[in-house]
């Protein structure tokens, strides 16, 4: 058998295996209806102010055989901040806080995924207010179900961020605490 024939057969075998490899990763898009990205920050160090972002987009790819090949992306529209007070929301959009005209989105892009008990440990680049830092989150959940013909998967996580780490105006860190707790509960729908 000539070398070229061997090569052709090998290529055909590889091509036949390729769809199987690709289908190992499940692709999901962020379901805005059944998900939420909310946050809370200390006010005068006596209570918590709660808020949420109403416009979020994202996608995840989950490879259950090889979790390292999984990926998670989340894009939050900073302008959609909602603390149930229109005047405060308007203030938060201004450059003393989110500066949404300069930094319209808050983003997370995973760079490393590891399976842990009950979920995944995801390391990624978190970009907020023009500053990108590497963070690690414990993404709990990942159970997959099928509902009305749509495959769904859910995750939850909670992370603590310091505004001062993200170049927020230090003078604006006064009555509102430096640390904010971000709570992400998201559901993905198969594409």
């Amino acid at each position: 058998m000539s070398v070229s024939r061997v090569l052709i057969r090998l290529a055909l075998c590889a091509a036949a295996l390729l769809p199987v490899t690709a289908s190992a990763a499940e692709e999901y898009v962020y379901d805005a209806v059944h998900s939420s990205v909310s946050f809370k920050a200390r006010h005068l160090d006596i209570s918590w102010i709660h808020g949420r972002f109403n416009e979020v987009d994202g996608k995840f790819s989950i490879d259950r055989q090889d979790p390292a090949k999984s990926s998670f992306q989340l894009t939050i529209k900073a302008d959609s901040v909602d603390t149930a007070n229109a005047a405060r929301d308007e203030h938060l959009r201004q450059p003393d806080y989110f500066d949404t005209k300069q930094f319209p989105t808050i983003e997370f892009r995973s760079t490393k995924v590891k399976a842990i008990e009950g979920g995944y440990e995801v390391t990624g680049d978190f970009t907020m207010h023009g500053t990108t830092r590497s963070i690690t989150i414990q993404l709990m959940g990942g159970r997959q179900i099928e509902s009305r013909g749509v495959r769904r998967v859910g995750f939850s996580t909670e992370l603590r961020l310091k505004r001062s780490d993200y170049n927020f105006d230090k003078n604006a860190i006064g009555p509102i605490g430096d640390e904010a707790v971000v709570i992400i509960d998201c559901e993905g729908m198969s594409k």
């Binding site: 201004q94 450059p95 003393d96 300069q102 003078n171």
Partner: protein, 296 residues
Amino acid sequence: MPDALLCLLAFLTAAVVAAPGAAPRLYPLLILAGCVSGLLVLQILPGLPPVSAADRFLYLLPVLLLVDFAETMLPQRIHRLLQYTLLLTPVPVILYRSVWLTQPAEATIQGLTPTGWLLLACLTPLPLTGAVLLRRLMTISSRPSITSALPLNLVCCLLCSGVVIMLGGYLKGGLLALPLAGSMLPLALRNGFGKSQPDRPLPLTYCWGSLCCLLLIGLFFGRLTPLQCSCFAAIPLVTALPLPTGYAEPCGRRQTAIRTALTALLCSLLLYQAWSVFAVRMLPLLAVSQHLSEQP
């Protein structure tokens, strides 16, 4: 709201440091030193890289002053060319990589949307047009009272626009006006009410460029309305208009006082309007915060 005492201290520090010294040719350096001192009092330092509009504006300031500094060293034509070229930069510098130029993301050319290009094309010549108009007014009238009153009018507009930006909720943006206005004040007072004719050229690029930048920041990143922005830009031009012929001009200082008072009056109208909006929108929020902070 920021500490009023700290604001006053920043303004006065800038004014004291920028007080004209013995060497008239070095006055732009004093102005810059005054401005930097005021910013330090307020603990405002430009970030590196300058990602926000305010940071980019702060880095533009020394360049604006440098052109004024070069006025006595360069031939007039070259200086004007430099000055006018520099006055074309505030809009692209302030709006750089902001949503005004980059979104929506569809169909971009060099990263900018068609709307962004249009906005740039329409707004970029405005600071230059204002400066040309001011200089033209000064040349046509050739009355020292206009040249004398202009820096004071610009200081007044800067201060008031800063307060209006703060009342709109953008504290850092508004605070920038204090060291800027403070650093211009000694020269403005000397020009306006000094016993002799001004011995230093008016730093038009710095004064006018700073006002334009601050207004752009307030308009595009704060809550300064287009009407407020236009008024603050127009007031120094309007109050620099030559008075009707026949009006007696016995004393340059009296004219300066009249023009400055007129500027202050127009600015206070804008301040009152901004305060009315602030009282309705923001004051309730602050009142709640104040109440909580007073609890034992």
